[in-house]
Amino acid sequence: MFAELLQYLFAGLTSGAIYALAGLGFAIIYNSSHVINFAQGEFIMIGGMSTAMMVAAGVPLPVASLLAVLVTMLVGVALEKFAIEPARNADVTTIIIITIGASIFLRGLAQIVWDKEFHSLPAFSGETPLNVGGATLMPQSIWVVGVAVVVIVALWWFFNRTLFGKAMLATSFNRLAAQLMGIGVKKVLMVSFALSALLGAVGGIVVTPITFTNYEAGIMLGLKGFSAAVLGGLGNGMGAIVGGLAVGIAEALASGYLSSAYKDAVAFVIILFVLFFLPNGLFGKKGTDRV
């Protein structure tokens, strides 16, 4: 009985950590620009795909990962430079629509540059499941959780302890005031895209051994990551993690104790329910309207 519950929790932990990592990327860009970047899932896909392709070509995993992160960051910066920046005076909604267009473009590009097949990476620490209390967990799941934790700590440090991080936060609060204080707001936006591309790439690399990847992998990860970010409170890193885990565990428990046919519905009902009572998500700050 207990082993069963534990197994469901582990299943939820695995998917939840994946959703959380995806959700974190949304949080960063939202923080600095109030834009929801719907190409975030594509950053994850590019990270996973380019690593898988390089590893298949014989590049050692650590080198391939590093290069893949760089490639993805380059894509992130290019996206900001050529698609977002020219429209910087436009409405937030317009910019969000641009990111949707960018995501479709990046998926198409991935089909041409790479291929349409599924690709995988070897698990970082082998494929022997860990046995805990009669339930099993793959070492790769721990990698995903671990990376999510490291990322959230690093982000906290960056936003609270470094000058540039604080400048980014300041820009998100009041763009004009930040500019008047001498903060290069253009640079802030670019760095936030590079940063969330980095996050996406890292996420894509650690989840690929579990979920595999292909040019479309970003759609699902982006959607679930977005749900996680909204549930946790947009723009809040901790919220994205808690939100992701909550969605993952709710799905696993629902398929374990109710019916697997309703697991997606259960997750969405929970999200709706939470947002009904806490419109800003679990950890979201209450929005203050300017008068």
């Binding site: 069963e4 197994q7 469901y8 582990f10 299943a11 939820g12 695995t14 998917s15 994946i18 198409g108 089909q111 349409k116 097949e117 599924f118 995988s120 494929e127 499941p129 099993t136 793959m138 989840v207 579990i210 979920t211 595999f212 292909n214 479309e216 992998a217 759609i219 699902m220 799905e251 696993a252 428990l253 398929s255 374990g256 697997s260 046919a261 997606d264």
Partner: protein, 384 residues
């Protein structure tokens, strides 16, 4: 100004000449229309299909065509969207005046095109698996691949032989997996199979251990059957091993490609599934009538495209061969004549199996077209 008008007249004349020349040429060429899902979620099926059609049409023309008539392939990419497929089918019939249509990568796009093709009266050979395409029989519609019902029957037959009667199913809750699941439920009784646990997952779920744990703890399960394609079955297979489950594990023909073994890795060891002869071309007995066909196709495909042959490419090859043979027998491209010749296809040995159609059967494959294969040491081994 005057010179401009002169040029205009000249241009018109040139265009008109071109149009008439085109019309004259069209009467000579055999026009094969095709709409495939070369992009979109089913692109890994549609792309090999398109490449195969192009390669064999080009080769045919190099060898002089059909009785001296060149063959022209008119292709549209429907991106996997049924509404687009219907539009392209209409365009193929009304604008391109094709003689026959081969295409429809997925059951969805094929069914959408049928609504256009049937009233227009153009022979149509679908490359999709769903049984709905030919059941009930539609006058102008044929198909080359096996159906999901046959796959389920083949699996249940094998289970029965091994004395496994109580099984658990875990299926994708959309498209291919859902249809396969429903067909499995329909035929299970015939083979004395009882489905004691029935779980589903979404095509892109990253983890299905929760569903498998439920199956593991269900009483009396003797075997597990997974119906799905894409990365889902590979994740199910990995999770199956993670949980240390050791019951006989069956997959559907949806994963009969080397990519599945590559993705699932060691966890795929011992899995059984029904597959077309093409998958185990080298292992077929020398006396097997399919042997020469599938080995030749495999060799040609892999030499031309430097990638593993896929059964989907085989479906396109079979469709083209059946169509060309029918046109040859009919001696013309008269649509009714060609249609009735396709229906009379008998004893055609294709990559999918032995095809013998009839007015009641517009697919013409029997259960023997499927071979039972098992994964051993990362490769398919023929077991039946």
């Amino acid at each position: 100004m005057r010179s401009l008008a002169k040029w205009g007249v000249a241009a018109c004349a040139v265009v008109a000449a071109g149009v008439f020349a085109g019309a004259a040429q069209a009467a000579d060429t055999i026009k094969i229309g095709t709409f495939l899902s070369v992009t979109g979620p089913a692109s890994f099926l549609g792309e090999p299909e398109k490449k195969t059609l192009e390669m064999y049409v080009e080769r045919l023309n190099k060898d002089g065509g059909v009785k001296g008539r060149k063959v022209e392939l008119v292709h549209y990419d429907d991106g996997g969207a049924p509404d687009k497929a219907a539009t392209f089918a209409k365009r193929l019939i009304q604008n391109d005046n094709v003689d026959i249509i081969i295409g429809g990568t997925t059951t969805g796009t094929s069914m959408a095109a049928i609504k256009v093709v049937e009233p227009a009266g153009v022979p149509f050979i679908s490359l999709a698996g769903g049984i709905d395409i030919v059941d009930p029989v539609k006058k102008w519609v044929f198909k080359t691949p096996h159906t999901d019902r046959m796959a389920a029957e083949k699996v249940f037959l094998d289970m029965k032989k091994r004395g496994l009667t109580k099984i658990a199913m875990i299926s994708e809750d959309a498209g291919f997996g859902k249809s396969g699941h429903d067909q499995s439920l329909k035929v299970a009784g015939i083979y004395g199979i009882q489905i004691v646990a029935d779980e589903v997952y979404s095509p892109k779920d990253p983890d299905v251990t929760a569903q498998l744990t439920k199956i593991k703890n269900a009483a009396g399960v003797q075997a597990v059957f997974n119906f799905g394609f894409g990365q889902g079955p590979a994740i199910v297979t990995k999770n199956y091993k993670q949980l240390g489950m050791s019951l006989p594990f069956y997959q559907s023909h949806g994963v009969a490609s080397k990519d599945f073994i590559k993705l699932a890795g060691e966890a795929s060891e011992g899995i059984r599934l029904p597959a077309a002869g093409l998958v185990v071309a080298d292992q077929l007995a020398a006396t097997d009538p399919q042997k020469p066909v599938v080995t030749a196709f495999k060799k040609e495909y892999e030499a031309a495209f430097k990638s593993d042959v896929s059964t989907f490419a085989g479906h396109a090859y079979d469709g083209l061969q059946i169509a060309l043979a029918a046109i040859l027998r009919a001696g013309s491209t008269d649509k009714e004549k060609v249609r009735s010749e396709i229906e009379k296809t008998s004893g055609y040995v294709g990559t999918g199996g032995l095809v013998s159609m009839s007015p009641e059967d517009h697919m013409g494959l029997s259960l023997s077209a499927f071979r039972m294969v098992e994964v051993r040491k990362g490769d398919w081994v023929l077991v039946d």
